[in-house]
Amino acid sequence: MNETKEQPQNEPELKINLGGIILNSPILAASGPLGYGHEYRELINFDPFGGIIVKGISLEPWSGNPPPRLAETASGMLNAVGLQNPGLVQFMEKDLPLLRDAGPKLIVNIIGCTPDQYTGVASRLDRAGGIDGLEINISCPNIKAGGMAFGTDPRSTYRVVSAVRRKTKLPLLVKLSPNVTDISIIARAAEEGGADAISLINTLSGMLIDIDQKKPLLGNTFGGLSGPAIMPVALRMVWQVAGEVKIPILGMGGINSADDALQFIMAGARAVALGTGLFYNPGLAESIKTGLVKYMRKNNINTLGQIEGIAR
């Protein structure tokens, strides 16, 4: 047989620009599961992550919800941690210095009960150094005051996002709640408020009942559903929002494989974030990255831009 000279194939390029943040990989860690990253750094390789979004930070420490905070569900889990966090000061003094050299880009999720609390956190982090972007959490379903209330009303969304926008030059992601009638209206309000990218989706509000105790299973009664069970819902919302806004989308919700990640990108996401899947398999980012490269090689795709929104 004659020698066939193979076309020299370029290594697929995974680098992307997510609203001004240049990421070496389109795979991020979603806010929450990894906490502030320290514990997982000893366990897994962070290289496959383009970025890490650290757990929500508020102006003052929040103690979180009473236990039980977790329950496994069919192909997913419910959580009602309630945004327990050490507060801005301790985060900046203890956690941030350890995170600066972690490798992946660092995005800090910020939370509050009033617009002033959000802007207070944002303006301090803006000057902190070593932070590549902020993600405004207007969507946590697990606290009674604030949080999701901002994310279910377009005017409140606009108000919070534009207020934070005035306080920081850092790239601004806005994380949306799926617990709304029409997510595209909220996404447009976030874009108009000055967001550089949209993160979606946060968890779906749900609950379970303990039939022996005859009471809600979670200490907070309601919790957020995550995991593979919500993946098709998340994908549909990414699809909807991608048709409504010009800014890039960070897609998340039950992503558990390279196939899942590719579906989000083809629906219009620029990048994807992993959450519950990291509990199932702490090495998930690595295997998704390998799967992405394999798919791109096989289909002669050089950059992810070639397939972003291609299914639309």
């Binding site: 757990k55 905070r69 069919a74 889990m77 327990q84 509990f279």
Partner: protein
Amino acid sequence: MRVTLYAPDIAREAYPGQFVHIFMPPEHRDHMLPRPFSIFGTNRHTGELAVLFEIVGRGTALLAGTDPGSSWRLLGPLGRGFPVLQPGSLLVAGGMGIAPLAFLAASTTIPRTLIYGARTADQLVCPRENLELPGLTVYEVTDDGSRGEKGTAVDLFSRLVEGAGAVFACGPRPMLAAVRSISNRAGIEAWISVEERMACGIGACLGCVVPADGGYKQVCRDGPVFRAGEVIIDE
């Protein structure tokens, strides 16, 4: 059920009261969380580690049904375990709470006492040979009297607590609450191992907490063994 795993690195380091996170097999790994198990015992020479459990859900059913020789991914040893036993220690195990306490009982030969209670004889699942240890006195107790004394572990504990060196307990929450308050009244130091649903197992996700003064403690990292006064256990 007792399952023995070959995990030399974990077996070498683990001490009583710590736990391992067992990840689900590949065909289930994409939709099931890892499960935390107390370490029941280790053998540093053979590199073996044992867990003792009852089938309560999908994860334990999978582990119970596994074929000998199959591979499971483990993370551990995790958490903060019991302190070293001192002479005259009183160990209190309710039901599956025996798992970490059998490991603790086997860690020494100094005189120590174990109260091992359950509702019925068939719920005293710990193999007898694991509790036949030099220096260990064992009192069995069942609600229906089908094995050992008739009554509860707490009844027996109230009677034996006087003069105990220290107390080490693991079992259902009401039992832990009673052990905590009785030890406190008797002025005896008590250590309790707390169970809670977990996700990450390493202190990152803040999913497993127990109330404490001024907030919450993380069961997976601050515990699962706590000084009884450190945490609040509702009666």
